[in-house]
């Protein structure tokens, strides 16, 4: 279990780590908000439901208690009337001599709202006294009626009947009234002898109805009254029940104990509160359909859900807004840093944003100043490097090998001594030109024509020195002569060709130099028919540092030539060497096809 939780946490961490800051912020905020809202909503609605259920049952209980109290008062009144009649009137009277009608009439008159009739019957069912009507119906047969039977059977108790139509007395108006009868056995004194009789108090049914009718138990809740056997005494829909149009769960309810019960009757869930009234054994039953209580729940649930969703929606929106406010400056900053990563140092100044919170602003400010510093440093480094290289080059260029100069001068002296002045003049002239072009007013770039001239002078000298051991040929396409080249890049290659290709050759050496245009690029080939070498060795030459055999050549290595070309014109240009043993070697210089003016303009543009 613990491991599972751990793995889930790890997974979500992993998941979040891959996401953007904004996503993480909004998703966590939203999740927390949703969980909070759901917990609050659910707990509130649960609280509400349980409290409203409690309230419903409490209010039913209260109502039932109230009805019980009223009913009790009502029935006690009836009992009191019965008691007064019995103990104050009947007990004190001898029927042989006294007339109890006057007292009975008085009692009836004071309680006529509650009563239909009062009557005292002998054990044979004859009327001894009655109010307000006295004439018994011929067909009535009081002795056969339930109230009479009950009173005679249990003489110590008072008996309450179920509602029935009173059918004792002749009523000239032909009125038939529903009554609840209170009957008890009484002792009648007649001429000193005691006989049993029955005292009947017929209560107006509407009295009970009044007590139960106006009870507020919600929309469709109601109270009904049953006796101990489940017979309905009062029901708001009594006539419907009597007519079989409505039904009540009264027989089942008779078995209920006092308190709250849940029951399902005719497919309806209801809350039933039962209270047994004192003395009569009647049960007051309050019925509240559960739908009455829960009808609000549905609404409230819907409302709760609605508000939860609404709040979640608002929160999501606010979260998105907030997270974007927080994350966007960071994101922008990140973009800027990415640009820096790509090396776009020069653009960064514009794009390092300074929006967002104080922290982010501070961060971006710091990054900006860092970038500026970095850029300055880099610029410094470039300048430094460039100047370093330049000085190195200058040094190299100025390195006209003293050995070469000494040999040349030696050759010139030798020629003069042998009176070969012509040759000496040629050599001195060539040497002078060589130097002039070498210097070229300190310029790095010269035309191809000058460069070839330089090589020609060099070859002139060398040819004389090597006693015509080789011959050479320089050809150039006319279009390329005005093109720019770096000075002193052909000469080292020619020097190599002489030293490595010609020196140890038995036959005549040949050196061909060709400048030509191919596919908009300028090529200068130095071809010799010397000893040659394997291609691997030729490739290695380009990687070697300056030749160790200093003293013989100009000391400028192939690698140096290559670096210079690439430094000036870029990596797509440079030097290539193709060689085969015993066949010869070709060194090919590859340069862009540009005149000096074009290069100057380009430089000006870039510096701008």
């Amino acid at each position: 279990m613990h491991d599972k939780i751990r793995s889930i946490i790890d997974k979500s961490k992993h998941f979040l780590q891959k996401r953007s800051l904004q996503f993480t912020i909004s998703i966590t905020f939203t999740a927390v908000a949703v969980i909070g809202m759901v917990i609050v909503g659910v707990s509130l609605s649960m609280r509400f439901i349980s409290s409203s259920e409690k309230m419903a049952s409490a209010s039913s209980t209260r109502m039932v208690d109230q009805v019980n109290f009223n009913l009790d008062t009502y029935l006690r009144n009836m009992l009191r009337i019965s008691d007064s009649m019995y103990y104050r009137v009947i007990k004190n009277a001898d029927l042989a001599t006294d007339n109890i009608s006057g007292d009975m009439s008085l009692l009836y008159e004071t309680n006529r709202d509650l009563l239909i009739s009062i009557g005292v019957f002998s054990s044979s069912g004859k009327v001894i006294a009655a109010e307000p009507l006295t004439q018994l119906k011929s067909s009535s047969g009081a002795v056969n009626q339930d109230w009479f039977i009950n009173a005679s059977r249990k003489i110590e108790n008072c008996h309450f009947s179920t509602p029935h139509v009173q059918n004792l007395f002749v009523d000239p108006d032909n009125k038939y009234r529903w009554v609840v009868s209170l009957s008890r056995s009484v002792e009648l004194t007649n001429a000193g002898s005691i006989a049993h009789g029955v005292l009947l108090v017929d209560m107006n049914f509407s009295g009970i109805e009044q007590i139960c009718k106006n009870v507020d138990l919600g929309e469709s809740g109601y109270i009904y009254l049953i006796d101990g056997n489940g017979e309905i005494i009062y029901h708001p829909r009594q006539q419907l029940i009597y007519s079989n149009l409505a039904h009540e769960n009264n027989t089942v309810a008779a078995q209920y104990d006092d308190g709250n019960h849940q029951e399902t009757f005719e497919g309806q869930q209801r809350l039933v509160t039962v209270k047994t009234a004192g003395y009569t054994g009647w049960k007051i039953i309050a019925v509240t359909p559960t739908t009455d209580i829960t009808s609000d729940y549905y609404q409230i649930k819907i409302f709760a859900l609605f508000f939860i969703f609404f709040a979640i929606f608002l929160l999501i929106f606010v979260n998105m807004f907030l997270s974007s406010r927080i994350a966007n400056p960071i994101k922008e900053l990140e973009h800027s840093v990415k640009d820096i990563e790509k090396g776009k140092l020069s653009d960064v100044d514009i794009s390092v944003s300074s929006s967002g919170s104080y922290e982010v602003q501070h961060l971006s400010k710091t990054i900006r100043s860092m970038v500026n510093q970095l850029r300055n440093l880099m610029d410094d480094i470039v300048v430094e490097q460039e100047s370093k290289r330049k000085s190195e080059l200058d040094a190299l260029q100025s390195q006209i090998n003293p050995h070469f100069l000494y040999n040349t001068l030696d050759s010139i002296i030798w020629m003069i001594e042998n009176e070969r002045y012509e040759g000496a003049v040629t050599m001195v002239t060539a040497l002078a030109r060589l130097f002039r072009i070498s210097l070229s007013k300190g310029k790095n770039l010269i035309t191809v024509a000058d460069e070839l001239e330089h090589v020609r002078n060099y070859l002139t000298i060398q040819k004389i020195r090597y006693k015509n051991k080789f011959c050479y040929d320089i050809t150039a396409e006319p279009g390329v002569l005005e093109c720019a080249t770096i000075k002193l890049i052909v000469q080292p290659l020619v020097e190599n060709a002489i030293y490595h290709g010609m020196e140890f050759m038995s036959g005549d050496g040949e050196i061909n130099i060709k400048a030509y245009q191919k596919e908009n690029d300028l090529f200068i080939d130095i071809i010799d028919n010397g000893l040659g070498m394997p291609q691997e060795q030729a490739d290695a030459l380009l990687l070697e540092e300056t030749s160790k055999e200093r003293g013989k050549g100009s000391g400028i290595g192939l690698k140096n030539v290559m670096e210079r070309i690439q430094l000036y014109f870029g990596n797509e240009y440079g030097l290539a060497i193709y060689s085969e043993p015993d066949e010869g070697t070709t060194a090919r210089i590859h340069l862009p096809m540009k005149t000096l003016e074009q290069l100057d303009l380009g430089k000006e543009d870039s510096t701008k």
Binding site: K137, S138, S139, H164, V165, N167, D171, N174, K175, Y176, W178, S206, E209, P236, R237, Q238, Q239, L240, Y242, S243, N244, L245, I302, F303, F306, F309, F310, F313, F317, M320, F321, S324
Partner: protein, 323 residues
């Protein structure tokens, strides 16, 4: 905040508002839905006591089903012309349904057919047999009549002269009762006569009294409550002068019940009038809501004499429970 996001926000907000309205449409539009139906009940006579129990049933149903009932009585008994004009008046006044006890099966046929085209019409007590599918709330009057006749047979009161009191014979229920009575008595007695009794209670009383004095009859059968009351009263008043006739009848009023108790009337057949009133309104509401199951509801009835009138079932039937 991009415009798209703002738009989405507003759209979702609108969706919330709309769903809120839909959820609460019950509360907002409740009042409209809860407008009670107007149902007019048109009797076939004056406002007499015989209608009290039916009216109680109607009132209970009106309360239960949230219906406003206008209870319309006639100025004279069985006045079909008045019924027609009242029915038209009620329809013009915007009744959602008419519950009517047709006074006359022929006169009212066309007006009811016409009225049915606009609103539901329910017949109670009597009906018009010639209109197909006309909702009809009543007990089985034929059964009621024959049950009473069987009671007469059981009481062995078929030997003498049997007189059937005729009144409102144009009403289908009275006619059915008559047919029921005849179906039983026709086979056991050849001695059946008919007296025509007028509609007006006083006239009916006088006619019955005169007939009773002049023409000896062994058994009288009244087919409706008013006639039964009139003839019962007449017999009660004549009893001192020594007439002896067994009165049977259908229908109840308080006077009839008291006469039954005092055994002036031998036995009566009563239908559950409370149910009649209740179910007629229920049927009207069902018809307005188009939930009618099409079948005609039958009401229970009982044959009661003085011995069993206070049995718990019969007293509920005979004595309306005043609430």
């Amino acid at each position: 905040m991009t415009k798209k996001k703002m738009l989405a926000f507003i759209l979702i907000l609108l969706a919330f508002v709309v769903s809120f309205l839909i959820l609460n449409r019950d509360r907002i539009f409740e009042k409209k839905n809860n407008m009670p139906f107007q149902i007019s009940v048109i009797t076939r006579g004056k406002s007499t006591e015989s209608w009290t129990t039916i009216k109680q049933g109607i009132d209970q149903a009106a309360k239960d089903m949230n219906v406003e009932v206008s209870f319309v009585t006639l100025s004279t008994e069985n006045n079909s012309q008045e019924q027609i004009s009242l029915m038209q008046r009620e329809i013009t006044n915007g009744a959602n349904a008419i519950v009517i006890a047709p006074a006359n099966s022929t006169d009212l046929k066309q007006p009811i057919e016409k009225a049915r085209k606009s609103i539901p019409v329910i017949t109670m007590q009597s009906t018009i047999d010639t209109i197909k599918d006309l909702p009809y709330i009543s007990c089985d009057n034929y059964q009621l009549g024959s049950a009473l006749a069987e009671k007469i047979v059981a009481d062995k009161n078929t030997d003498g002269r049997i007189v059937i009191l005729r009144n409102s014979m144009n009403c289908s229920n009275i006619h059915q009762r008559y047919m029921g009575v005849i179906s039983v008595l026709g086979t056991v007695s050849k001695n059946i006569e008919y007296w025509d009794i007028p509609d007006d209670p006083q006239e009916a009383y006088d006619t019955a009294k005169g007939r009773l004095q002049n023409q000896k009859a062994a058994t009288l059968i009244a087919l409706d409550g008013a006639t039964l009351e009139a003839v019962g009263k007449a017999e009660r008043d004549l009893m001192k002068s020594g007439t002896q006739v067994e009165i049977y009848g259908l229908g109840r009023t308080n006077t009839v019940v008291s006469l039954l108790e005092s055994q002036v009337i031998k036995s009566i057949g009563v239908e559950n009038e409370y149910n009649l009133g209740y179910l007629s309104i229920q049927s009207a509401v069902d018809n307005i809501n188009k939930k009618s199951n099409g079948s005609n509801t039958k009401i229970n009835f009982a044959i009661v004499d003085h011995t069993n009138m206070y049995s718990s079932d019969n007293q509920r039937l005979l004595f309306p429970f005043v609430q």
